[in-house]
Amino acid sequence: MILAFLILLSFQLLGEAVVHSLNLFIPGPVLGMVLFFVALLVKPALKEKVEVLSRSITAHLALFFVPAGVGVIEYFDLFGRYGVGMVVTILISTVITLGVTALIFHQLMKVGSKGGPA
């Protein structure tokens, strides 16, 4: 469990370090995830070491968003001005993005599984 935590934190640190030194756009933990994925490809034995901890923390991902999410409270006054327009825009855009992404992915997979182009 401690070893697993150490491994995850090390990859996060690696991600943060690369982002910082190359002045990249992406957050350290996201790059850490990519690097950890590559490490798993190279050394599959890593999987067993982190499996138990990894499963329990990804199961509670929702909890870790709470402190940042409560930050919405700081912008209540802005909603007085453009609130409706902003919320409706985001709602429509999110529905369209979900629908278009799913439809395209789904249709392309159907084409692919029918034995390729004629």
Binding site: Q12, I73, M86, S93, T97
Partner: protein
Amino acid sequence: MMELLALIMTLGFYLAARRISSWGKDHPLLSPPVLTILAVIIMLLVFKIPYKEYFQSARPIHFMLGPATVALALPLYNQLEKLKKVLAPLMVALVIGSTVGILSAVFFGALFGLPHDVLLALTPKSVTTPIAMGIAEKIGGAPSLATVFVMITGIAGAIVATTVMKLVRVQDPVVKGFAMGLAAHGLGTVRAFQISEMAGAFAGLAMALNGLMTAILVPLLLSLIP
């Protein structure tokens, strides 16, 4: 003492929210993170606790977001065979989905008469907070406003995702998860994990890929923003 109270309150509300959500058969309106966030906001307003003080105290919980993001590599690795099979359609869906996410926000925002700086902050709404803040900063939008839009998108995505999937008649957990992570980052991923581990794995992947894709596309599409 404030630190303990903030932690106990957050953990307690979270457990209660999970219980309510499972009583309601994981109904999208009963999203555990959304319920927990609302409950904490109410407590802060009632007891007049400044957000900064709460955040400082709840930091240990926030800290776990980093290692939890790294840990998302594992469910994805477990789906490696599946990932290899769908890689080409997945990449096409990524490019189109990401573009649609950015342009639809700009289009409807302009339609509703939102000012230029608000439109700029809307462009990275589908991606995870730190990337969104970075993008907003780079193009001259307000990073703090971008953060709020990211949160609203996540909440909206968690609530509408399953309904939209029914509308477009998609049942494949891979496709569902990917669309949720792409459109609604971490909160979409949380919702996808409620469907299945496979959906969650592809949501985590979509979240990471769309973060990168949006960072590339937004500066390219900048001239289209009114």
